[in-house]
Symmetry: C2
């Protein structure tokens, strides 16, 4: 069944990567939102679902260090759906697209029982700036932007895809590995350690817990934060990064040897396995 | 809301077109199949849905004169779906992918009430070979490959995406406009005439009606034939094209001035408007 591999990077990172120009790669990512599974149209309100449908993919492009350029959208629409809902969806989507200079270039609309939105975003990244999940090195600091947890309330719709911040990072610092936090810090840190074949230790006291979040456990497992989790040689201070990125950046731990596992040290100094909570199998 | 247009071609053709290398464009197309709307898993049987999900997009790449290279897939999967169904889907999809040297480079799997498959295919085409819907010229012959109609029975699953045939066409002939017949000959001819700002006349007697099709009307409106409909200067005989492409090719009519409308001449010589039957609004 094997097909000669031409892609630079296939399944297993935030985006697929293919050759583009002499100096650049093309990034591709696809994300599906289904009514009743990923969103509640009534609760979400006007335009927010359209915004989110695009934003999750912009966040994937950011996680590779890239710039989003184009998007295509497939929709499933109930036959008797009010046109207003579709209009609102596009208002939310196109407003965000404009902010990020993303061009809607194609689509497919289908009859469906529930609303379905599937968005493919195409971006580009200079070859020298591409960041994968798999480049974390022993001794790297583990950094996270913003605050984590409690996104189920509002942030899941209103989050800022960290494209600008990721660009500052890849242009000015030696980022070894990066991912966006969609499954939850706990799971997404594991995605980095597993693909980089390393271990890690993080400190509970250093995790930036969002105000709407009731516990560190939620901040570890809630998911849909869409903040950046990245690793790089640990001599850059939080203060410098916070200033350069314009948003809070915290060092939450350090990359270790694989055999040391992935651990968390709680506020009493006790070391435990960071279990893979928060992972969505679907 | 306007975003600076960077794409060569956005919404309104079989694929979106963006700049790629010095000599080539990149082609992008997205297509969604929903259980109960586009397919019946029980009736379709093993692997056929997976094959079709990819094949419809390969057909779109063919219609632009291109070569498919990569695909990404978003799936919606019911929580208790037997793994065998998903396996079979991938067997069908990957078998066709292998035949066409298409590499699966990304995906997203979600929980869903019904099966949903959304596939984005990326292809490439030499700039000089790109064919749009919009290039039909007065005096062009109107050509169609294969036989039309009755695809609801089997062909909708088993059709051959006409990639090889389209490549022979664009490399050896001056094809002015091309589309794949997905909505039905009647609608897809209108897609060509409207975007080319021309009229057309076709002859009922010349339409290649498939054996499983009961009437010319069905051949005009059934859709899901996934044959090529193209126009080019009319001095190339069916015999030459049939030989070069290795499949039957018929000349069914001629491109006219816009003001002559889009007409069909029946077997008794009577001229009528070719109404837009067979168009699926969703």
């Amino acid at each position: 069944m094997a097909i000669a591999k031409q892609a630079v990077l296939g399944i297993g990172d935030d985006c697929a990567v293919i050759n583009y120009t002499k100096d650049k790669y093309l990034l591709l990512t696809i994300d599906m939102l289904i009514e009743g599974v990923h969103f509640d149209l009534k609760k979400a309100g006007r335009g927010r679902v359209g915004r989110k449908a695009l934003a999750v993919s912009l966040s994937d492009i950011a996680a590779m260090g890239g710039i989003p350029k184009y998007c295509l959208i497939s929709m499933g629409v109930p036959p008797n759906a009010p046109l207003k809902i579709i209009d609102n969806f596009y208002v939310g989507l196109l407003k965000l697209a404009k902010e990020y200079s993303v061009e809607l270039i194609g689509g497919d609309t289908n009859r469906s029982e529930k609303f379905i939105f599937d968005i493919c975003v195409i971006g580009e990244v200079e070859k020298r700036y591409l960041v994968r999940r798999s480049g974390a090195k022993r001794g790297d600091g583990i950094y996270v932007t913003g605050r984590l947890g409690g996104s189920i309330k509002d942030k899941q719709y209103d989050f800022t895809p960290r494209v600008k911040e990721a660009r500052v990072l890849v242009k000015n610092f030696k980022v070894n590995a990066m991912i966006d936090i969609s499954d939850g810090l706990s799971s997404d840190l594991r995605h980095i350690t597993e693909s980089s074949n390393v271990g890690a230790i993080i400190y509970e006291s250093r995790i930036p817990v969002s105000k709407s979040c009731r516990s560190v456990k939620e901040a570890l497992t809630d998911g849909e934060d869409f903040e950046l989790l990245f690793t790089m040689p640990g001599d850059i201070s939080e203060k410098i990064l916070t200033k350069r990125l314009g948003i809070p950046v915290k060092i939450i731990g350090e990359i270790k040897n694989r055999r040391e596992g992935v651990k968390i040290i709680n506020k009493k100094g006790k070391k435990r396995d960071l279990r893979t909570l928060g992972y969505r199998h679907f």
